[in-house]
Symmetry: C2
Subunit: 301 residues, 2 copies
């Protein structure tokens, strides 16, 4: 029965997905460390990239992340790195997510501390992104990463792309890194009783933010060849503002136009409890419900 510890999640992406010894070296600082817990890591050979999921208390997490960034700089050489996924550095992007007893503002401050320390320690240019961004054009990772590692040496010399911390030139072998605080992402897919990828894409366009849909929703149509059906595949980028059920119900509404039905949905990977509690509360019309009524939150607070 633990206390009111602050918990932050970190989901760093490293540009290494092929060499087991290198992968283990990078992950190792997250193992068997007090105050830090490695939840998962996944590697992709085609992307030549790995995604680590780790949670921890701020001080311990900061130390472990900075150590892992150092390991990535040691074992990865971006000058010879090849992979399908866009990338700009050995430690490509390091997002921090507030989980428990900590708010976004404090997580932004935390991300700045980690960025400053890592930049100093490794002479690494670091860009702050998402909620930590120092200017609007740096909020989206894709804008920072445009040009990738190969274009970064020239890009970083432009005044508007001076990094937030570290030197205004790339690390010769490790490139540059983006760090910042963001909300948890929920990977949420809605399945349609149709074989038409075109229709799935049309519906995706209607629900996603960029083309007039929901503010915190990214969406594309996907073909499920095994099932002979299609789905709207979404990233819900702030479930506290754009609820899962809203996307689900809106897709039902849009599907009607094509005379097709929603046959179900799926959550890929982890989802914060609050997103599901909110969904239950909506459909049951729950009045005055508080997350503290969930038994588990009382036990593991």
């Amino acid at each position: 029965m633990s206390s009111m510890k602050k918990i932050i999640e970190c989901v760093p992406n490293f540009s290494e997905g092929r060499h087991p010894q290198h992968i283990e070296k990078i992950v190792e600082p997250f193992r068997a460390k007090k105050g830090v817990r490695l939840l998962d890591y996944q590697t992709d050979e085609d992307h030549n990239r790995m995604v680590v999921t780790v949670v921890g208390e701020p001080a311990a997490l900061k130390a472990a992340v900075i150590e892992a960034v150092g390991r990535a700089i040691d074992v990865i050489d971006m000058r010879t790195h090849r992979g399908q996924h866009p990338r700009m550095g050995a430690a490509d992007v390091v997002p921090f997510i507030p989980i428990k007893n900590i708010d976004m503002q404090e997580t932004v401050a935390f991300s700045r501390k980690v960025a400053r320390e890592a930049a100093q320690k490794y002479s690494l240019p670091v860009f702050l992104y998402e909620k930590s961004a120092s200017r609007p054009e740096r909020q989206n990772l894709a804008d920072i990463r445009k040009g990738q590692f190969e274009g970064m040496a020239a890009k970083i010399k432009q005044p508007q792309w001076k990094p937030d911390f570290g030197p205004a030139k790339i690390h010769p072998s490790a490139g540059v890194t983006a760090m910042g605080a963001r909300m948890p992402l929920v990977a949420y897919n809605v399945n349609l009783d149709s074989r038409s990828l075109e229709i799935a894409d049309e519906i995706a366009k209607k629900v996603r933010h960029v083309s007039g849909g929901l503010r915190y929703c990214k969406a594309i149509g996907i073909e499920l060849k095994d099932r002979g059906s299609v789905q709207v595949s979404m990233n819900m980028t702030d479930y506290t503002q754009t609820a899962l059920y809203r996307a689900f119900e809106l897709i039902k509404v849009e599907a009607r136009r094509y005379g097709i039905n929603v046959i179900g949905s799926e959550i890929v990977g982890l989802v914060p409890m609050e997103a599901l509690v909110d969904t239950a509360a909506y459909y049951l019309g729950l009045e005055g419900f508080s997350n503290e009524q969930v038994l588990e939150t009382r036990i593991w607070e």
Copy 2:
């Protein structure tokens, strides 16, 4: 970040709700004890009764519960006890609920150990009830408690009411106790846009088990005078078998007969996360969802 500790909840009911010093004496064994956490306690002067909610690891919880039962025997005299709520002993009923890393079977075994030890230590007759019951007619607490403290001296002498542990005669001042394992109760109320208590009662009859409704649902109609409306007030006695959404949807169906609408619902007190996850999964048609995808379960496992 704790380990795979077994966690049991205990919600003992003691026949004391009027004297603060006595109340504090009974609660005290649950305070500031390693491996045990007092979540809540509520007293009722009219009922002259208190309900404690505590969670803990088996060994520590057993010790604390046995100590608290001893305190109740010390400070309560059933011969002079008056209160509106039915009761048969100082420690009237002691339910145990499996919460984490423990199943019902193991919780039943645990309840038997606590019952045996308390019976020996205090020469207290203890009846096993609910999932721990030694015979079907002892499953329902109301059947065991029938006759209350005043009738128990005679009842306990009948062979079919020989207690499971302890002497076959009541404790002179503390009566008898029921102990056993059960599922978590969820207090769940559905609000109707009607002022008719009669209609709320009619609908309650249709959804509750005893009169032909859902297996793990108890229900009555209740008048909400302040709001000028009525509700179906339910105890969901096994949400893993009778889901909350099933009761909610069934009440909607039944309400149609009277031309009235369901305007919302409410959960009173604590609810296990799984009950809400299950509700969200139903309404979103979630495929292949596992509780382990809830971020919090990974952090506080």
